[in-house]
């Protein structure tokens, strides 16, 4: 049988090498020019025997989501892997260790749970690993050899990758891993002679593999980030770890502070001096930051706040994804407190949009909340990101000599943006405050002044529309069904649209990185062209739908996907078919 796409899952416990297995496979595939997406799932507790899985989907063409189901399960831990069997597609396979049946009762073994429509391949993983390296380590590499044979994958890409990854550990380690791979391959070849072939484009160029968190960190540093303050929190910590290492090389600095309040505080302080500054957190941290984000609005201090969403409320689900922080991002502040809210959909977006976030923050002297999420932040994905080094599309507007004579920090202007100098610069000085203030920046509680200054702050958001990353209309322009979604669910919904199209139902989608403000005219035109609108999002309330309904006066079909592991394109397609059925009734 010929394959063009495969999804493989490794399941095991700590020490089984789950993550390293998926890194080898994903690296091998990306180097061979295949498109890859990797999703790791692990429990929130760090304990020795915690179960973890890593799923790798790879294909000759671009993958936008984790898809539905898996082709092969590699069960490195027997009992833990039993639950994963239900995800295996018909005709799929399970690779299990046949060398140690005595460890567990027959009824609890992985092999005894394999249903008839799934192929079980017993391989003495432990025995072969010991043969290769003298220890149990390397069972994952043996299973990789088996996998390589079972699906007719080119051996060389694995061999190259094993050499590449283990090189720094010395020749001996490379050698034993190569042997483990070879033993797995040979055993399988002898025991299970098959005629499968993974069809590859030999001319494909190697692809870069990157997570959303990495893309955010590098995008920010490439556009002039010089200061990062943060507090460790799953799933955002990786961003701080990257900037901590890389910023000093760029004469910038990362500080781990005592809490998220201090993190946003330090960011505002740095930004006050004219430095591009950022923090990254998750829901609980964003909650703590609310008050100082409000100060950022009131005192008009540029700031970029990345929120890698996890399940909530409170401590919630630290290792699960949810799109539940839209409301707090949009409305989480006392008073009338406008702020920019953006949501990237993929790694490439993370890179380019974080730069757009700085463009908006710097030019319009506003906080920008950048809503990534756990799935997007942690998943690995191949993408062709063009590095945009030293990118600075916008800067803060400086006052003219004339304006400096009687400098007004909050001078009223047509677009709402006041020319700005910062400490250390000549010409004038001023104080900023979270109190209501006049154009000079001095406290003032007159209602007329308050109204004028509130209008000024909101005016910036009208002026901003010309500078927003444009919306994209995706799919069939003549479709009756229009879809809106936001953030990382985009990929699965896009694939769901494709499945629906195969089944004869056309759809179109409005893709917008901008949540607030939006290019309202484009949205209005799009919605006016739809007979039926579906809004998909991964939260219970329908937070984005609520925003769209109140802004555009639409009555969409709302699909609230519960916090789950990656969204299923098949279920999205089923919903589209259902709506189409109602429409054609």
């Amino acid at each position: 049988m010929n394959y063009k796409e495969l999804t493989v899952r490794f399941c095991g416990i700590a020490g089984d090498g789950i993550v390293s297995s998926s890194r080898i496979i994903s690296g091998a595939c990306a180097d061979a020019g295949l498109h890859v997406m990797v999703n790791d799932i692990y429990s929130a507790e760090i304990r020795g025997l915690g179960k973890s899985t890593s799923t790798i989907r790879f294909s000759g063409s671009k993958v936008y989501s984790m898809g539905d189901g898996i082709n092969a399960l590699v069960g490195l831990a027997q009992q833990e892997s039993i639950d994963e069997i239900e995800d295996i597609r018909e005709g799929g396979s399970v690779i299990y260790d046949s060398s140690s049946p005595a460890d567990i009762p027959e009824t609890e073994s992985l092999a005894s749970h394999i249903p008839p429509e799934v192929n079980g391949y017993g391989i003495p993983l432990k025995t072969l690993a010991n043969q290769a390296s003298g220890s149990n380590r390397g069972r994952n590499i043996v299973s990789m050899g088996a996998l390589c044979h079972l699906y007719g994958l080119p051996k060389t890409i694995f061999i190259n990758q094993i050499e590449k990854i283990f090189k720094r550990k010395g020749d001996k380690v490379v050698e034993s891993n190569l042997t483990a791979f070879e033993l797995g391959y040979e055993y399988c070849q002898n025991q299970y002679p098959l005629n499968n072939l993974f069809v590859m484009d030999k001319k494909a160029k190697p692809l870069q593999i990157i997570s959303g968190n990495e893309a955010v960190a590098h995008g920010a540093m490439d556009c002039g980030l010089k200061f990062f303050a943060g507090y460790p929190i799953t799933p955002a910590t990786k961003i701080m770890e990257i900037t901590a290492k890389e910023l000093p090389k760029l004469n910038g600095w990362t500080i781990q502070v005592e809490d998220e309040i201090a993190a946003i505080g330090a960011v505002l302080g740095a930004s006050f001096t004219g430095t591009r500054a950022m923090t990254a957190t998750a829901g609980p941290g964003l909650s703590l930051m609310s008050e100082l984000i409000n100060l950022s609005v009131m005192a008009e201090i540029s700031a970029v706040i990345v929120n890698v969403q996890r399940g909530g409320p409170a401590t919630g689900l630290p290792t699960k994804v949810e799109q539940g922080d839209l409301n707090i991002s949009l409305y989480g502040g006392a008073g009338d407190s406008p702020r920019v809210v953006m949501a990237p959909t993929c790694s490439k977006d993370c890179y380019t949009s974080i730069q757009a976030a700085f463009d908006l923050a710097e030019k319009y002297q506003t906080p920008v909340i950048f809503l990534s999420d756990l799935f997007l932040g942690q998943r690995l994905e191949t993408d062709d990101i063009k590095r945009n080094i030293n990118y600075k599309k916008s800067t803060r507007i400086k006052p003219t000599r004339q304006q400096l004579k009687n400098y007004q920090r909050y001078a009223l202007t047509e677009d709402g943006v006041s020319p700005l100098i910062v400490p250390g610069e000549d010409g004038a000085f001023y104080s900023i405050t979270g109190l209501a203030h006049n154009t000079a920046g001095n406290p003032n509680f007159e209602s007329e002044v308050h109204l004028t200054m509130t209008q000024k702050r909101f005016r910036k958001f009208k002026s901003m529309v010309k500078d927003l990353p444009p919306v994209e209309i995706i799919g069939d322009a003549d479709a009756d069904i229009g879809i809106a979604c936001w953030g990382s669910t985009y990929g699965a919904i896009f694939e769901g649209m494709q499945i629906a199209r195969h089944n004869g139902v056309k759809t179109k989608m409005i893709k917008s990185i901008m949540i607030y403000p939006q290019d309202e005219e484009s949205f209005k035109t799009f919605f006016a062209s739809c007979k039926k609108i579906i809004v998909f999002e991964m939260n219970f309330q329908g937070q984005y739908a609520a925003l769209l309904k109140s802004t555009y006066n639409i009555k969409p079909v709302e699909v609230h996907i519960p916090s789950v592991d990656p969204v299923s394109p098949a279920k999205i397609a089923a919903k589209i078919m259902e709506v189409n059925h109602e429409l054609t009734q």
Binding site: P248, G265, A266, G269, L295, G434
Partner: protein
């Protein structure tokens, strides 16, 4: 500002004997006549003048409370932040631009109440900033409630049956957290306040000025008079170089010592950063 307010303010300035007006902003202080904060303001004026700190590099960060308005009364850049959040903001400012002279001003509620969680970390980073903690043992701006430094038994709006919680001693805290310059002053001693603020600004590292700065409006218990009865000077041979000894003196109730408790010279946060930059530069070149 109406004429009544202006008169009260001018009276306050007069009583504080602020003579040198060259560091004044056009905004007049909002404090009550006799407020201890005027002395600290005067001290900062004098220190800024003596040390010739350019206004463009002078940054005062404050929190909320009567002390919060400080930045508006002084020539330079000011950041009137949120309640308790001045120290993290100052941290960002100083790391981002080490050339700036950064002064944080806050009250007892701001510094050891709502912002108490930031205090140890600002200290242990040893950034080169000066923190003037104006301690009046009362929430003045909300018209008289107990603060974290109020004595046990104090009757206030929120403790009508007497304060139960024991007071915090900010001098002790700073010493325990490892501050490299710790001084306690009393707003009645104008010259000492000015001198120690100047020394604090000259110190390389985190400096605390714990200023006993009575509230003349809402605190009937902790007053100029009550402090005057207990304050005392260090023995002549006190050297301010021993943290354990400094802690003992800090905890003394009678007398309540005034002056420099400790001064220690170690590299500042930005010194370390500079070193790391240098190291990276040399490895990149090699």
């Amino acid at each position: 500002m109406n004429s009544l307010n202006k008169r009260a303010v001018l009276e306050g300035l007069e009583r504080a004997k602020i003579k040198n007006k060259s560091k004044w902003r056009d905004i007049l202080p909002t404090w009550c006549p006799g407020c201890g904060h005027f002395t600290a303001l005067n001290g900062l004026y004098e220190a800024a003048l003596d040390l010739k700190i350019p206004e463009k590099n002078f940054v005062v960060v404050s929190g909320i409370g009567c002390s919060g308005r400080f930045p508006f009364f002084i020539k330079g850049f000011g950041f009137h932040a949120l309640h308790g959040r001045a120290l993290p903001i100052a941290t960002g400012i100083k790391i981002a631009n080490p050339e700036l002279t950064v002064i944080v001003v806050g009250g007892d509620g701001d510094g050891v109440g709502i912002g108490g969680g930031h205090f140890p970390h600002a200290v242990r980073n040893n950034l080169d900033i000066t923190y003037i903690l104006l301690d009046n043992s009362i929430y003045g701006l909300t018209k008289g409630q107990v603060s974290p430094t109020s004595p046990v038994g104090m009757i206030s709006g929120t403790t009508p049956y007497g304060n139960i919680a024991r007071p915090i001693n900010p001098t002790t805290l700073a010493l325990a957290y490892g501050a490299t310059f710790v001084a306690r002053v009393f707003s009645r001693e104008r010259q000492d306040v000015s001198d120690l603020i100047k020394q604090a600004l000259q110190h390389k590292g985190f400096s605390l000025i714990h200023d006993l700065s009575p509230c003349v409006e809402f605190n009937r218990l902790i007053t100029y008079k009550s402090w005057n009865q207990v304050v005392g000077k260090f023995p002549e041979d006190y050297k301010a170089d021993n943290r354990t000894l400094a802690l003992q003196y800090a905890e003394s109730k009678e007398p309540v010592y005034l002056g420099l408790f400790l001064k220690e010279n170690i590299p500042t946060f930005n010194d370390h950063v500079k070193q790391i930059f240098k190291k990276i530069d040399s490895t990149e070149k090699s």
